[in-house]
Point group: C2
Chain length 208, copies 2
DNA sequence: TCGAATATGGTAGTCACTACCATATGACTG
DNA sequence: CAGTCATATGGTAGTGACTACCATATTCGA
């Protein structure tokens, strides 16, 4: 690897770290891009070459986790569909759990800044689309429309589980075991689509 | 109703219609807010009082469909959980199918404008949150965390089905029967979470 | 060491969006 | 009907994210 790419990675990390620092200290909305550039000792022009939008400074970490998981899944040998989805889900959750503080910070910013929330959702959507594409590539069937439908719905289910588990995790600081929760959700993936409580009395919905 | 609210609704509609016209003619990115305001013969200041962001000019219709469905569901008598979700899904799809051109236009803009896509996803996320909240209110159970989990996962499943069906619908101009597709998806909601094709040979995933 | 490829910094500008104020227009009271 | 109050509107000035562009500096291959 040349010196060029080394420096590039270094300044990239520097900018991202300084940005995260300023965001957590003063808030996303109260931090300008110029301030970040100044803190990283680069020009605003340079910053924009690395990060096309202000939001990517926050969400790049999550994006990496999701896209790495898809890339990993692409190289996996063929398996049963539920097994494959389970593997992807576990992979994403493991990567996210590597930096709990980072994940929590991202979700806090998303909660109080609509544009961050929007870009986060868009990120998740793109992950879902990539996963769908890979599932289509792997699934076989006579009806291509049915394959597309099946793949999209499956990818959505996986994304649903990931999102739900992560949200429960970040909302409950210390009372959540991600692995246990994910396991419970995944058993629903194999059983019924709707996670109905075990007791029959809990199956009913009560009015207002 | 006073003359005041009448005029307000009128100018609101006027702005939204002119905006949609300009967007479809020249594209979302190539239309400025000032142009829209000029076309509706109002000041930019007035426009921003009605629509806080440029994206809301596009997405208000979808937002109305989703939020109306939730509001409707809130007033429904208690029913079985799968039945309730099915009702919400049908409600949303019916409302969207009322203006097919509008829905198609929205998704086209979302496909070619990241900020529109982001705001659309954020809208869907908010719908999911509202639906989750209502499900929590209706569900009973000894463990509140399990209730929250169940509700979030259920709302996510409903949203997953809606999003998948709508996406298939807008991607295939005339070859999709929304009702039929929704029916198929909803049967999966009651059966297994993963939509596996009927033939056993289709259950396997094949490698690259 | 020289020239090509690329990374950087700065400038000028567009545009979405906000805060604020003066004015005009419906709405209600005597 | 006149007056007054609440609210709607239009305009101005500004912030800040983002783009296009160009001159300079740095790194790489020969």
């Amino acid at each position: 690897m040349g010196l060029r790419e080394l420096k590039r990675e270094r300044t990239r990390r520097l900018i991202a770290d300084k940005a995260f620092e300023l965001f957590t200290d003063h808030g996303f909305g109260r931090t300008t891009v110029e301030q970040i550039a100044a803190a990283a000792e680069v020009g605003p022009s340079t910053l924009y070459r690395y990060f096309p939008t202000k939001e990517t400074l926050v969400l790049e970490f999550v994006e990496d986790c999701l896209m790495d998981a898809v890339a990993w899944f692409r190289e996996q040998p063929p398996v049963d569909l539920p097994d494959g989805l389970q593997a992807v889900i576990e992979r994403v959750l493991e990567e996210l759990e590597r930096n709990p503080d980072r994940v929590r910070a991202v979700y806090e910013m998303a909660d109080q800044t609509p544009s961050v929330s929007a870009h986060l959702q868009e990120l998740i959507w793109r992950f879902r689309e990539e996963l769908t594409e890979e599932l289509v590539r792997r699934l076989s069937g006579p009806d291509p429309q049915l394959v597309e439908f099946t793949a999209a719905l499956s990818a959505g289910s996986a994304m649903n589980i990931i999102e739900t588990v992560v949200r429960m995790w970040v909302d409950n600081p210390d009372g959540i075991d991600v692995k246990e929760l994910a396991h419970r959700a995944m058993s629903l993936l194999r059983g019924g689509g709707i996670p109905l409580p075990a007791a029959p009395s809990d199956n009913a919905i009560h009015g207002p």
